[in-house]
């Protein structure tokens, strides 16, 4: 398993952002769904080794990121697109991607080709020399995806990757996810259920820091059937049904 989470918890003061999540994920595209504030971003930041867990056990790519050496090995094999992508406005797309390729300790001789490939992959080949400050929001997002995939990661963590992409780009992006999912573990945090339905082999749903569903998109659809839950599409109805069940269960427990 590339991702093994056991009772993973993260608190910020009195707020419990992630509450005892246990999860395993191997190669494939794993969709992480949930409403705003469900804890998806905190969970992804922990998997990106940016945020240390408060409690629980985390193993990534067969290594414990608690130690410096293993953490560095994980980071070499990691691709990460944060929800709020920071960037250097004066850098060109190529410089930005090259910068992070070097920071990921890629063999330097392979960097130029990898940078060009990553930029082509996200469809920014004709804007490679454009400064980031001149790009639209969607193009910036694609530049962010390019830096995430430049090292051909074994674990790719994408937080709201389709935000700002136009429909055509989203279709292409889903194809990219499927391609990466053939040999890597791709975890996509999103609240756009159609992305999950098309691209993901597995899906998990979080609410209030807890994992309330883990299965295939088909199983999620099944949960919605006949439930009378709100939604225009089968996946949306499954999403709503699982959330409603989790919340009513939580209310009953409290």
């Amino acid at each position: 398993m590339n991702v093994e989470l056991t009772e993973l918890t993260r608190r910020f003061g009195h707020t419990q952002a992630v509450a005892g999540v246990t999860l395993e994920a191997g190669p494939g595209v794993f969709g992480l769904l949930g409403p705003n504030g469900a804890g998806k971003t905190s969970l992804l930041r922990m998997m990106a080794t940016v945020l240390p867990p408060t409690a629980g056990r985390l193993r990534l790519l067969g290594r414990d990121p608690g130690g410096f050496g293993p953490r560095r090995e994980i980071r070499r094999r990691l691709g990460y697109l944060p929800q709020n992508l920071g960037y250097y406005p004066g850098f060109t797309v190529a410089d930005f991607v090259e910068y992070f390729a070097l920071l990921k300790d890629m063999p330097p001789r392979r960097v130029p080709r990898a940078v060009a490939a990553a930029i082509e992959h996200v469809g920014l080949g004709d804007r490679a020399r454009a400064k980031l400050r001149t790009l639209s929001g969607g193009m910036l997002r694609r530049a962010g995806i390019a830096q995430a995939i430049v090292n051909e990661p074994e674990l790719l963590l994408l937080d709201e990757p389709t935000a700002g992409l136009d429909p055509e780009q989203r279709v292409a992006f889903r194809a990219l996810l499927r391609e990466f999912g053939q040999r890597s573990t791709v975890i996509v945090s999103t609240h756009l259920v159609e992305d999950v339905g098309v691209a993901c082999t597995e899906v998990a749903l979080m609410d209030a820091g807890r994992l309330v569903f883990h299965g295939t998109p088909g199983e999620l659809v099944t949960r919605g059937e006949g439930s009378g839950a709100a939604g225009d599409a089968p996946l949306e109805r499954g999403y709503s049904a699982v959330l409603a069940a989790a919340r009513s269960g939580a209310a009953a427990r409290s």
Binding site: R75, R76, R110, Q169
Partner: protein, 513 residues
């Protein structure tokens, strides 16, 4: 985005092995290309022109005089430091301001190494800019025929200061990332420079010598002309500034996110090493003592630097030859003409000099070199002139007339044996009379005395008087007027008969004719 079917075949990456230097070089190249410092270099160049070059170019063409302004008073550093500290803080705070901290942290390369690359790019631009501007300045000086040897050690001190300000500013930005980090760092640098200068005005010795814009002890009168620039003080200042730079950069490696335990331990050791270097340098500066050619730090001093620079003098004059160091060659005619009236006045008297030669000025701490006397020694008697300690026309407001009067005064001062002090009342009266005879009227003498740092003769009654100019009155001038009023022959005869006693201090005012 390209569809999956168009994608190139990807293979898992091998971890980085021996490519670390190449990676670091590529990171540095990227940082150099995107650094903010080059954008500010034109502004610094303008400031450098108006604050450093133009005022210095108004002084006579001697390296020592121009360097006193540029590097002694620290203008080259002051022009750079606030900008460098500000830009470094701006670059250091980049990840915090731009929200890229998560991305950088999630990368394999230790955060400290990434930050050092960004700092190195800033420092390379800043120090490169400093060296380029100083190089252009020196080229202009050379084109203008500036005399002496360039002060390379002091250039190195300036470069070290720029480096230290870049490191300190970067640390401020990296550790407290916000949009206010840059202006605060720039203001802090300016404040540090001003405080350094102010402290230098009041602390002319001891630890304060370590401060980069303390102008005391730096620029000796004949440095680079009659003797080498002493490297003692520059060495400890470089050590101090380098120590600050190393400590500031080490601080970046201390936070948990900076890297692994070994790297953080190395950072802690780096901080301690930097602080130790800076502290040691300050301690060494405290041991400095005043030598004839500047501040000597015993632990660092190389006696070879005390050896005078060999030269073949430039000489002029027929009967009375005046010989100067060739770097002072442009003053030769003026000095010869200035001495001539006094030489004529004392010619034929016992101990009258038959020629004059330049001697090295002895450095004295504090502002100005006032009060250094000429000497007459040897057989036949030779006048030794510490020209470097005297006012040179064009330097610090000195005029040709003032310089000439100063030379005449110091010649008669030496001739009557007044030594380094004001002399006895009789010696003072004899000097005044001789100067009057040489064409320097009594009325202008008190001002001249003040200008060379000697007390005025007017109120003297045996002890030193005030250095502020006063009217040429009083018992000394009364006696001087009597002596000057004598016909030349009898006066000459009296002086010939009584010079030995006068020089020994055995003649009183009442005994003057």
């Amino acid at each position: 985005m390209t569809a999956a079917t168009d994608a190139p075949v990807r293979r898992p990456l091998a971890p980085a092995g021996g490519g670390v230097p190449l990676t670091a070089a590529r990171l540095l190249r990227l940082e150099l290309r995107h650094n903010t410092m080059p954008w500010l270099l034109p502004l610094i160049a303008a400031l450098f022109w108006f604050d450093t070059y133009r005022p210095s170019a108004a002084t006579p063409p001697y390296w020592v005089l121009r360097t006193f302004w540029n590097m002694g008073q620290g203008h080259t550093i002051i022009d750079f430091a606030p900008f460098v500290a500000g830009v470094a803080a701006w670059v250091g705070s980049r990840d915090g301001r731009r929200g890229t901290a998560d991305l950088v942290t999630a990368a394999a390369r230790p955060r400290w190494a990434v930050q050092l690359a960004a700092w190195a790019a800033t420092a390379i631009w800043a120090v490169g800019g400093y060296l380029a501007f100083v190089g252009a300045l020196f080229a202009l000086y050379a084109h203008q025929g500036v005399r002496g040897q360039p002060p390379w050690w002091w250039v190195a001190v300036g470069a070290a200061a720029v480096l230290a300000f870049s490191a300190a500013g970067f640390a401020v930005g990296a550790l407290y990332p916000s949009r206010f980090a840059a202006p605060l760092a720039a203001f802090g640098a300016m404040l540090a420079m001003l405080m350094s200068s102010q402290t230098g005005f009041t602390h002319t010795s001891g630890w304060a010598q370590i401060l980069p814009t303390n102008s005391n002890g730096n620029f000796q009168a004949d440095s680079g002309m009659l003797y080498p620039w002493l490297p003692d003080l520059p060495i400890v200042r470089i050590m101090f500034l380098a120590g600050i730079a190393v400590a500031a950069l080490g601080l970046l490696g201390l936070p948990a996110a900076a890297g692994g335990p070994r790297l953080r331990l190395a950072a802690a050791v780096t901080v301690l090493a930097g602080l130790a270097a800076a502290g040691t340098a300050a301690g060494l500066a405290g041991t400095a003592r005043l030598g004839p050619h500047g501040l000597v730090i015993p632990a660092l001093h190389d006696a070879a630097n005390d050896r005078p620079i060999a030269y073949t003098p430039d000489c002029a004059g027929g009967g009375f030859r005046v010989c100067l160091n060739p770097d002072y060659g442009s003053e030769l005619a003026h000095v010869t003409a200035a001495l001539a009236p006094v030489v004529r006045e004392v010619a034929g008297l016992p101990g009258a000099p038959v020629r004059a030669t330049q001697v090295a000025a002895k450095y004295s701490a504090g502002e100005g070199q006032g009060g250094q006397a000429m000497t007459i020694s040897g057989h036949p008697p030779v006048l030794g002139m510490p020209l470097g300690a005297l006012g040179i026309p064009g330097a610090f407001g000195w005029t040709d007339g003032e310089t000439a009067g100063q030379l005449q005064l110091l010649l008669v001062h030496a001739f009557v044996g007044a030594g380094n002090g004001v002399g006895t009342p009789a010696q003072q009266a004899a000097q005044a009379a001789l100067l009057q005879g040489a064409g320097l009227p009594f009325a202008s003498q008190p001002n001249l005395l003040g200008s060379v740092g000697l007390p005025s003769w007017a109120p003297a009654t045996g002890g030193p008087g005030p250095t502020t100019p006063v009217p040429a009155t009083g018992p000394i001038y009364a006696a001087a007027r009597r002596l000057a009023a004598m016909p030349a022959g009898p006066r000459h005869a009296w002086l010939a008969a009584h010079l030995a006693a006068l020089r020994a201090g055995h003649v009183t005012l009442a005994q003057l004719p």
